[in-house]
């Protein structure tokens, strides 16, 4: 059984790699976190096979958790009514108290469902279920697994099936779920993060997808210097990195339908072709991009200290910068203020 986690860099072809692993012979389960990625993978599968073959199942994480792990084994016994995506109230209940996992209307708290499966002792059954139907399990966006979900993922990985997890530590911008301090510091340190996989007998592969197809040499170097994140380019492609210093250039960029403007938040308020940093994850069709920085980040950037921003911000910036196939414009948000409604 091959158990492997591949740490990939942005634009290195994670999806392509996953799709290339699929065949009509091997029974495969693909788990992904975001709906966006789910529909993207679905289309890629259809492009490869013409349809979704019956030996391939594609699920979002929560349909896997609820529909595959929980419901077939425990639905009737627990008599629940789906998932509650709100946070549970602050009250503390004992580990074996169902009120810890189920709200008064019978819905399961999304962030404790993985824990419930463990507490009820059904992990072996879940593993057996995977073995019964699949030869290989693929998990995309593994960096987003957090809280109890991360623990469940490691437990499930012990099933007697091939296991391939793919993700980019630095693209960790969302969490599947959180529950208090459980795995709270998981993403603070990449070495300790890797160790969690190794301890679960999952080989860590940092080679296969270490080079970006999307980003050229210049962009990769920019990211290495300013964010101190390792990324290399496949192609020796040179492009421009431009600091936007004049209102005139800003106005021109604002009008330009070929350059996407990437904002920290509320991009839709600027009335142009735009997106938020975090939400641009997975997008692969931008050529030149323009990243708009807030006052503080702009200062850090000019001082060459952008990598000192908090992990969350740094990761989102990494996502944003690594969207660029071509060049990067970097602008302070004061030049865009006048467009904001």
């Amino acid at each position: 059984m091959d158990k492997r986690v591949i740490f990939a860099v942005a634009g290195s072809g994670k999806t392509t790699h996953l799709i290339s692993c699929l065949s009509l012979e091997k029974r495969a389960l693909i788990i992904t976190y975001t709906e966006n990625n789910h529909s993207h993978l679905r289309n890629r599968i259809i492009q490869k096979f013409g349809t979704i073959p019956s030996n391939i199942s594609l699920m979002t994480y929560f349909s896997f958790l609820h529909g595959f792990c929980y419901r077939p084994i425990m639905q009737l016994q627990m008599n629940t009514r789906g998932i509650n995506f709100r946070r549970p109230p602050q009250r503390n209940f004992a580990l074996d108290d169902m009120r810890r996992y189920r709200d008064p209307s019978g819905r399961l708290y999304h962030n404790r469902l993985a824990k419930l499966i463990e507490v009820k002792g059904f992990l072996p059954v879940v593993r057996a279920r995977i073995e019964r139907f699949y030869d290989a399990v693929y998990v995309d966006e593994v960096q987003d697994f957090a809280g109890h979900d991360f623990n469940l993922l490691l437990e499930v990985s012990a099933a007697n099936a091939d296991m391939l997890l793919v993700g980019d530590f630095y693209q960790h911008t969302f969490d599947t779920s959180r529950d208090g301090a459980v795995n709270g510091s998981l993403h603070n340190d990449i070495l300790r993060y890797e160790k969690r996989f190794k301890d679960a007998k999952i080989a860590v592969d940092k080679e296969t997808l270490s080079k970006s197809w999307r980003c050229g040499t210049t962009v990769c170097e920019f990211i290495r210097v300013h964010l101190q994140i390792n990324i290399d380019a496949h192609e020796d492609r040179v492009s421009e990195v431009v600091n936007v210093n004049t209102q005139e250039l800003a106005d021109q960029l604002h009008r330009d339908q070929n350059v996407v403007k990437l904002f920290y938040e509320q991009h839709y308020k600027y009335g142009c072709y735009s997106q938020n940093w975090g939400a641009s994850k997975g997008q692969d069709h931008y050529e030149d991009i323009c990243v708009i920085l807030g006052a503080k980040a702009w200062k850090q950037y000019l001082e060459g200290k952008l990598h000192e921003s908090v992990a969350q911000t740094r990761n989102k910036l990494y996502v944003a910068f690594s969207r660029a196939r071509g060049g990067i414009y970097i602008a302070p948000d004061k030049l865009f203020k006048q467009f904001k409604t």
């Binding site: 029974r27 199942s57 419901r71 077939p72 084994i73 639905q75 019978g106 279920r129």
Partner: protein
């Protein structure tokens, strides 16, 4: 081919709970009236169809177990006690994880489909409660809903049916709905979806062409209001399609013929394509002549590759299709199987002349006799030695098996726990024929009764000796060559009939028959 392995019912019709296991091939459901043969077929049909409207048409009132409803009414009448109906259909395990789980009555990790009819307590709890308080005799059927799911608790929808089935109910055979339903089903598994859509399309365009070409002249004079031809959900290819044989629509044929044609047609297509997985037949012998029935049974016996479920009262169907396939539904909601019947015995009942095997199997107490003479007289003798009660009143069945195939019946009886008193002649050697012969065949509820006096070798000899006066009085007159006893031996049935009609009062049964009657009554 996906096969139905098992059925579990809760609060369905007359069953508060039932578990039946099925063969991948033929399953013959036998049982007395009101033991629920049809209910089993209906449960399968409803769950496999996964059609909400179908269930609603039948009505929750008629399928929810009335015993459960009554028990609820007698009890404290709280919401948590409202009965829930469940039909769990266990399927052969396949590769689709969506059917696989433990969400069934057995809690087993396997494939299957569930139909559940449950009260909508979360939605209407307060209303139901009020309704129950206002009228203690009311039951909130209106607040029940049917739900179809798989054993993984995922919602189940009819277009994903894992088992394609067809139900043929000969008692409904001439209803228009049944005929329509049948035609539609048969059409759908004879024509591929693509072909079906193309045919439907052609049909609709044909109607349009008729309107444009033939009606055009008429319409030309009418101005704004024009004649058209209906194309709608009530008038399309599926609704207009009929099945014909030799140019005559089968709905215009007799019921028997219809039943036959429909079964044959449904089965025939399958051999080629495998689109039909299960055929449910409700009392196919209804409306069929004996000859037709034999033809039908031959057809059924020769179909390979689809699962058959047949509910029947006919011994012929049941034994000819191999008794080992029979599922016996008892009145106490228990089911027996004859699977372990020996090869020889199963084949015997398939080959032997039409027999009373079903009657035997459905009885609790049986007196087996070997010939017509015994059969004619034994009922009278029974009454005589049981204070005038008839054997029917004591639920004792008398079956003449014509010959001495007692061992076959004893094997069946042992399997089903039937009390059997087998009455036979000693044929001149009691020890050999009636004791040694049956070593190993007898069980707690079965005994052989025969005359221990080897000189009284047949029923008639014993009968003559014990009723000499009566026999002489009846038969002596007119005897020239034969003695009375010889006459009785040569005309067994006639002599017995004469004795029954004219000398019933003075008739004395041979001791071993008295013993048999006394024993079976116990």
């Amino acid at each position: 081919m996906p096969a139905i392995k098992k059925l579990m019912l809760q609060n369905f019709k007359k069953f508060d709970s039932l578990m039946l296991e099925f063969d991948a091939g033929v399953n013959v459901l036998i049982g007395d009236n009101e033991t629920g043969k049809s209910s089993v077929l209906l449960a399968l049909d409803l769950a496999l169809s996964a059609s909400r409207s179908r269930v609603e048409t039948i009505g929750y009132e008629s399928i929810l177990a009335q015993a459960a409803v009554r028990a609820f009414k007698r009890g404290p009448r709280t919401l948590d006690l409202l009965p829930t109906l469940i039909v769990d259909v266990f399927l052969e395990e396949g590769d689709d994880q969506g059917f696989y789980g433990t969400q069934n009555l057995a809690g087993a990790m396997t494939d299957g489909i569930r139909m559940e009819i449950a009260p909508l307590i979360e939605e209407f709890g307060a209303t139901i409660l009020q309704l129950l308080r206002e009228d203690p005799d009311n039951f909130p059927y209106e607040y029940y809903a049917v739900k179809f799911s798989t054993f993984s608790a995922a919602p189940h929808v009819s277009y994903r049916r894992p088992v394609k089935h067809l139900m043929l109910d000969s008692s409904r055979i001439d209803s228009e709905y049944a005929a329509r339903e049948y035609t539609r089903t048969v059409f759908s598994f004879n024509a591929e979806p693509a072909q079906r859509y193309s045919l439907e399309n052609c049909y609709r365009r044909g109607k349009e062409a008729f309107r444009d070409n033939e009606l055009a002249a008429l319409n030309a004079e009418l101005g704004a209001y024009q004649f058209g031809v209906r194309t709608s959900i009530r008038s399309n290819l599926e609704t207009d399609l009929i099945i014909t044989k030799d140019g005559i629509p089968i709905e215009n044929r007799g019921k028997g013929e219809q039943c036959f044609i429909k079964t044959e047609f449904a089965l025939r297509r399958h051999e080629a394509k495998g689109e039909l997985h299960a055929l449910l037949l409700e009392e196919p012998e209804n409306h069929l002549s004996h000859t037709k029935m034999k033809l039908l049974v031959e057809q059924l016996a020769n179909t390979a590759g689809n699962q058959l479920f047949i509910a029947t009262h006919s011994s012929h169907i049941c034994s000819r299709l191999d008794l080992r396939h029979a599922l016996l539904l008892g009145s106490d909601q228990k089911a027996g199987r004859l699977r372990t019947l020996s090869d020889g015995t199963a084949t015997f009942f398939m080959k032997a002349p039409d027999n009373n095997v079903l009657e035997f199997a459905l009885s609790k107490k049986v007196i087996l006799v070997e010939g017509d003479a015994e059969f004619i007289l034994i009922e009278e003798m029974y009454k005589k030695y049981s204070e005038g009660r008839s054997p029917q009143a004591d639920q004792v069945h008398i079956i003449s098996i014509g010959g001495t195939s007692f061992k076959r019946y004893l094997e069946l009886g042992k399997l089903l726990g039937i009390n059997v008193a087998a009455i036979r002649d000693n044929d001149g050697n009691y020890q050999q024929h009636c004791v040694e012969n049956y070593e190993g065949c007898l069980y707690n509820g079965a005994r052989i009764f025969a005359d221990q006096d080897n000189s009284r070798s047949t029923f008639e000899i014993g009968l003559y000796q014990d009723n000499q006066a009566a026999c002489e009085a009846l038969f002596a007159a007119g005897r020239k060559k034969l003695t009375v006893q010889e006459y009785m031996l040569k005309n067994k049935a006639d002599a017995a009939f004469e004795l029954l009609t004219r000398k019933a009062d003075e008739l004395v049964a041979p001791q071993y028959i008295k013993d048999a009657i006394a024993w079976i009554k116990e």
